[in-house]
């Protein structure tokens, strides 16, 4: 038994640390159904009418998309239910991915033509500024400091910092019950900086890894007591393992997810806002939510767009 758990631990440690995932070449193509938990299969049923005759004069990014005839969209690949890459098929699925497809269709490009590029949190501003991605959809919170570097359309979703704990743990009920508990999140992330600056737990109890999946692994092996970040991300993990994990449900911040766009491309931003507004009004947004994050059983909070 010991040897087996050790081997599993080695595998998990080794696999989760490598930022470059093997490019979906392992073994034979999986049978349908194996990728169910990522929500990609159910979401595959969602389609969006591709707009025709879209022309955005004065938008350099749109001109670039037009001449390339295809899109490159930045996303996350390790967040279940939001933006996750299926390791067997290499396909992206989740709420953020569907929003990216919706926007692409609204701009007049077939969503099938999108190339998703994984961009880690630390590299987002630079990637957008360099023009390596046409836009970015990946749990990207709108903040004033970031507004100085990039532009945001949206918010298309409102999340809040919350805690993921073991199912049988009743001692943690909110942020004020964290004293003496080990709390884990991604290195340098806003949630862990908040835990540190507000002294929610002792400095020695703060644990930081490169990926949330490593924190969840440590939570299950009881080396940490709580994982903290936006509730949307945590619900994805809870939905994957509902027998062992639960989200506490007391959010203590407001994170507005926006679509990251090149700074000062107002024409494109207004167009994306228009696409999002339409999706919110005609029920498409709700359909996307139900097919992805809604599977965790939690209710949707419809956002109000900020048009600046």
């Amino acid at each position: 038994m010991r040897i087996r758990t050790l081997a599993v631990g080695l595998l998990v440690g080794g696999l989760t640390m490598t930022t470059m995932t093997a490019c979906g070449k392992e073994g034979t193509p999986a049978t349908p159904g194996s990728g169910d938990q990522s929500g990609s299969n159910a979401a595959a049923a969602l389609t969006y009418p591709v707009a025709t005759g879209v022309d955005l004069a004065g938008s350099p990014v749109f001109a670039k998309m037009k001449s390339a005839g295809a899109l490159t969209v930045g996303a996350k690949d390790d967040q279940p239910g939001l933006g996750q890459k299926d390791p067997t098929t290499g396909k992206f699925g989740g709420f953020d991915i569907e929003i990216a497809k919706l926007v692409s269709a609204g701009l007049g490009f077939d969503p099938e033509k999108i190339t998703f590029r994984t961009v880690d949190s630390g590299a987002r501003e630079q990637t957008i500024a360099n023009g390596d991605v046409n836009y970015y959809v990946g749990t990207y919170s709108i903040t004033d400091k970031r507004k100085a570097l990039v532009s945001f359309a949206g918010p298309y979703f409102i999340a809040g910092q919350d805690l993921l704990v073991r199912k049988d743990d009743t001692s943690i009920t909110g942020k004020d019950t964290l004293k003496g508990k080990k709390v884990c999140s991604v290195t340098g992330s806003t949630p862990i900086q908040k835990v540190r600056s507000e002294n929610l737990t002792e400095p020695g109890n703060i644990v930081e890894f490169q990926k949330y999946s490593q924190c969840v692994e440590k939570l299950l092996s009881k080396d940490v007591d709580a994982v903290t970040t936006d509730d949307a991300i945590l619900k994805g993990y809870a939905a994957q393992d509902p027998d062992n994990l639960k989200v506490v449900g007391q959010t203590f911040s407001t994170e507005k997810y926006g679509i990251g766009l090149n700074k000062d491309d107002k024409v494109l931003r207004d167009k994306v806002n228009e696409i999002l507004q339409k999706a919110l009004d005609d029920g498409t947004w709700q359909k996307i939510y139900d097919a992805t994050l809604g599977k965790s059983g939690s209710q949707a909070k419809k956002p109000t767009l900020e048009k600046y």
């Binding site: 050790l6 599993v8 080695l10 440690g13 640390m17 570097l149 340098g188 900086q193 890894f209």
Partner: protein, 215 residues
């Protein structure tokens, strides 16, 4: 300048952690590496085999895997609980000592055989010959490669950032979330390392001067 002064709460303690990590693992690897070198030149075949096996394994494993083992796999064995900082020191020591061992061994090879034979003629034991005749001369002749290995160790400490040790390697992620200019932040981190390496280079030069062997 703003990026540095607005975030002194990061740069100060995080670089301090880097130095702590470096000093502890440097002392650890120097001691353990020298012991390994002694194993590798010992007359007992079993000791030699153990030393060779250790060096082969530790030197051929990527450092991130060594870290991953101590942080993710070792706790599952349920032996002794090790916190993340000591785990980082152990991982760095396990890895670096293999390189130190080979440097020290090459130093031992520079000591003329006559020295050991003279020691034996005086009736010294193997341990005495090694500890009082050969090793002191060996270490003197390998100061530059020894310091190079330590400089590599200093830079390798940044890997600990991914394994829950908040040191200089983690500064970039913090700056990114604070919306600071990361490029400028990285330049400050680089400058910090240049200063630390300069200190080590100074130590190397003064040791070389003091210990230079006339042959």
């Amino acid at each position: 300048m703003d990026v540095l002064f607005n975030n002194l709460d990061l740069f100060g303690p995080f670089f301090l952690r880097t130095i702590e990590l470096f000093v502890l693992s440097a002392v650890g690897s120097l001691i353990w590496g020298t012991i390994l070198a002694m194993l590798r030149v010992s007359p007992v075949p079993v000791f030699r085999a153990v030393g060779t096996a250790y060096v082969t394994i530790a030197r051929n494993t990527p450092l991130t895997l060594v870290f991953a083992f101590f942080v993710f796999a070792y706790p599952l064995l349920d032996i002794v609980k090790v916190d993340y900082f000591p785990a980082a020191v152990i991982a760095l020591t396990v890895y670096t000592s293999a390189f130190i061992c080979e440097v020290v061994r090459s130093g031992i090879n520079t000591v003329p055989v006559g020295q050991a034979e003279a020691g034996r003629a005086l009736g010294l034991t193997f341990a005495q010959i090694l500890g009082q005749v050969v090793l002191p001369q060996a270490l003197r002749s390998v100061v530059p490669p020894l310091i190079s290995t330590l400089i590599a160790l200093l830079k390798n400490t940044t890997i600990a950032a991914g394994f829950s040790v908040a040191e200089a390697g983690a500064i970039r992620s913090y700056l990114s979330e604070r919306g600071e200019n990361q490029l400028v932040g990285l330049l400050w981190v680089a400058l910090g390392f240049i200063i630390l390496v300069a200190v080590l280079s100074f130590v190397q030069r003064s040791l070389e001067k003091r210990w230079s062997v006339a042959r």
